[in-house]
Amino acid sequence: MTDPATVLSELAEACEGLARPADESDAVAGVAPSLVAAPRSADQVAEVLRVAARHGLTVVARGAGSKLDWGVPPERVDLVVDTSGMTGVVEHASGDLVAVVRAGTPMADVQQTLADADQQLALDDPTGAGTVGGTVATAVSGPRRLLYGTVRDLLIGITFVRADGVVAKAGGKVVKNVAGYDFAKLLAGSFGTLGVITQAAFRLHPLARDRRTVSVRAAGAAAATRMAQDVLGSQVVPSAVEIDAPPGGGRPEVAVLLEGVAEGVRARAATAARLLGDAEQRPAMPGWWGRYPFAVGDTGLKLTTEIAGLPALLDAVRRAGDRTGLPVHVRGSAAGVLYAGIPSGGDPAGVATAVSVLRANAATYGGTVVVLTAPPAVRAGVDVWGPVSGIDLMRRVKHEMDPRRTLAPGRFVGGI
């Protein structure tokens, strides 16, 4: 038997004394850890994970903690690896439109540094509080995914520490590179189950010189989706096309973001306004822009669809609301990634019914339904991740990378 005090002292030795017993605020989706370590470099993370491996501790990595309760609560957490001490932009090669950033760096700080050179990491941060590591590990995205893509498209290199405490990297710091497997993509959206991310390299974009929003309140869901699809099928190259449909049959709003040089933005905004039935052009985005339609404690769903399935999806959302009497608010990109929010306090059985109504229809719109976050009572009654194609291969990947299930066991798809 290893004595907890021994483990703590080994952890402290691994990371310059920055290890401590955990308290209530360190809980991961209600699961209480015993210890917290805050390593300051990849080598220290490696040392910490070696200590964990030696003593058979399960580990959850944490950035700012803004999405820590997403997914299934881990079966067990012994040690939280807090990455918030690993901050800073290691390299910003502005001429090459590339930046290398430490995992604990807040996204907002990254953007600020890049903005000095009129550049950006073209990833929206929907919680407004995320770190680079958390953003990569959960692969969150926002409205501008339509034009710029998501984490997987902008991440060009990654450094991470394996469950056995070995530091590995893949990719590099050039945008074009096909040497070796694209492990960065594998880590993106892996919810901390394959390794602890310590550093990431990104492809950057210039900041747009000009931007304009065009928005309209549609008569109903069908009209909203038709207008959104018309913009997608046009040649105005929108950076984002968002739909916001409040619960209870309120009129949905469609908003289009156009970015680029002034002459172009002006012309395209006029075209987009025409496609939206002479919509209003506004300098600012609507207040709901880029935020999830759910708050901490609510149930938050991610709904995906093929583009043509948008009307069916909105219809399924309406039916889910009607069937359960719950106010289901849906919002997201016409590219086919939407979010639904159901306020806390809703009957868990009703929420479960809403999820199954949406899942039953997922095939008709060619998509999936994932419960990102939910109160414990709701979570207990739903299949959080839903059916996943390719799950056997995923399990084999997990088994190769983390055979002892050290990293966030049970948090990810299929019990991974």
Binding site: M1, A170, T368
Partner: protein, 484 residues
């Protein structure tokens, strides 16, 4: 089981025409676009659909025989080099474009479909498939997926990996697996992202769903002639520095221009030390405004002649010189090596100078590259008849990769590692990096049968690695893991 038994079994299942054993016909498949590696395959199989591919793979697994997928065989790193004792699975009878779906902005193709055919089929709907390797008239979508192929326009639009939203594959253990589809963000690990660019080592893609993009409203192309690559390089920096992202920026040096001129009479400006082709596309007003800026950046950096394509025909002529460059150097040199490396674009002047230092009378280097993203394609010219020249050319070619690594770049930007560069992988990655990558390999292909010998210099023994354990950890069994 020996190969003749396997051949008989596959003939019975797939039909006689689908299995080739005649040595003369097998020879057709002995190499890919990197013709100096040659191996006559043990057996060639031409399946027609996913089910047949699965049958072939399962038969290989049962017999413990390695298999290699092959599309059009245009690969430039020996990725489709066959196995003498193995099966070559050729997708040339899987050429059905399953669906063009403009409403969903997707197309679904069998792996043998030729890249350009996707765009041809989508064009009447106002859409196109963005990744456009120079070989697009012949290379296959399956090969593109395996290599994560790029093209001249990937500066703005990205590579194959950014345009594939779904695949169906036959895993190296013979299972049919679907990853992704027409909708974005399938839950779970991004195995699709890992499969793209895996060079046939994680299985065989049997159906590919790609993103179609709306054809741009306007396309404008200019050809600018500069005294040397230095000025041209500075013009590129100025364009990028101004926050412009053209669809393509391609550079060719004097030697490549000479070759292209001899081969396709592209009539580039006389006396140019370098030419740039810059193409902008998008909405009309944006393109017009940015085109003026690009033009002035070129002039500011000593462009002595700028031509603007008046129509599609002239644009095609500009591109003809560039797209024929690899083959064209055959006109000015009996033998040549096509190199593919990447540097941070800002290192371009320094690296080009160092490359010039490496050349000699016996071994010249012609440069053509995707200047916007630092992907170099130095063409190392030599004459095999001259004693020692071939070895010297190999050395120069290798030294260029050293330069790429030294500057923080990559040993391959789009042609892949394949057979050719496996030995260079340890120069870019540590043993731990390579070991980690091969964990993925072991997850997909524990028997090591899918395109063995490619990408990695030394195979990892799956499931037999010191320091790793199977099943519960001894500490866990002893109850120690429950300490906390």
């Amino acid at each position: 089981m020996d190969l003749s038994e396997l051949a008989a079994r596959l003939r019975a299942r797939l039909g006689t025409a689908a299995v080739i054993t005649d040595r003369q016909r097998l020879r057709t498949y002995e190499c890919d676009g990197l013709a100096h590696y040659k191996v006559i395959p043990g057996l060639v199989v031409l399946p027609e659909d996913t089910g047949q591919v699965a049958e072939v793979v399962r038969a290989c697994v049962a017999a413990g025989v390695p298999f290699v997928a092959r599309g059009s065989g245009t690969g430039l790193s020996g990725g489709a080099l066959p196995h003498a004792e193995g099966v070559l699975v050729v997708t040339s009878r899987m050429r059905r474009l399953v669906e063009v779906d403009p409403a969903n902005q997707r197309a679904v193709a069998q792996p043998g479909v030729i890249n350009l055919h996707v765009t041809r089929a989508a064009a009447p709907h106002g859409y196109y498939y963005a990744p456009d390797p120079s070989s697009q008239q012949v290379c296959s979508i399956g090969g593109n997926v395996a290599e994560n192929s790029g093209g001249a326009h990937c500066l703005k639009y990205g590579f194959t990996t950014n345009h594939v939203t779904g695949i169906e594959l036959v895993s190296p253990t013979g299972d049919i697996v679907r990853l992704g589809g027409k909708a974005p963000d399938p839950p779970g690990y991004d195995l699709l992202g890992a499969f793209v660019g895996s060079e046939g080592t994680l299985g065989i893609a049997t159906e590919v769903t790609v993103r179609l993009m709306r054809a741009p409203e306007s396309v404008r192309t200019l050809l600018a002639a500069f005294p040397s690559t230095d000025e041209a390089g500075r013009a590129v920096s100025a364009i990028i520095g101004a926050g412009l992202i053209p669809a393509a920026i391609e550079m060719m040096d004097a030697l490549v221009i000479e070759a292209a001129e001899a081969a396709v009479h592209c009539d580039y400006p006389a006396g140019a030390g370098a030419v740039l082709i810059v193409e902008l596309d998008g909405p009309h007003a944006d393109v017009e405004a940015q085109f003026v800026e690009v033009e002035s950046h070129c002039r500011d950096h000593a462009a002595f002649e700028i031509r603007i394509a008046a129509d599609d025909a002239e644009r095609a002529l500009f591109w003809k010189g560039r797209k024929s460059a690899f083959a064209a150097v055959g006109r000015i040199s009996p033998d040549y090596i096509v190199q593919d490396g990447v540097i941070p674009r800002t290192s371009l002047p320094e690296v080009l100078r160092r490359i010039a230092d490496l050349s000699s009378d016996a071994v010249r280097v012609a440069n053509v590259f995707h200047a916007g993203d630092g992907n170099l394609h130095p063409l190392v010219l030599f004459d095999e008849a001259v004693p020692g020249a071939a070895e010297q050319a190999e050395e120069v070619s290798g030294a260029i990769l050293d330069l790429c690594i030294e500057h923080g770049g990559s040993i391959t930007g789009e042609h892949g590692v394949g057979m050719d560069k496996a030995k260079h992988m340890p120069r870019m990655f540590t043993e731990a990096d390579l070991d980690t990558m091969q964990m993925l390999r072991c997850a997909f292909d524990p028997g090591h049968l899918s395109n063995p010998g490619k990408v990695f210099p030394t195979p990892r023994l799956c499931g037999e690695v010191p320091g790793r354990h199977k099943g519960a950890h001894p500490l866990q069994d002893a109850g120690v893991a429950e300490v906390f």
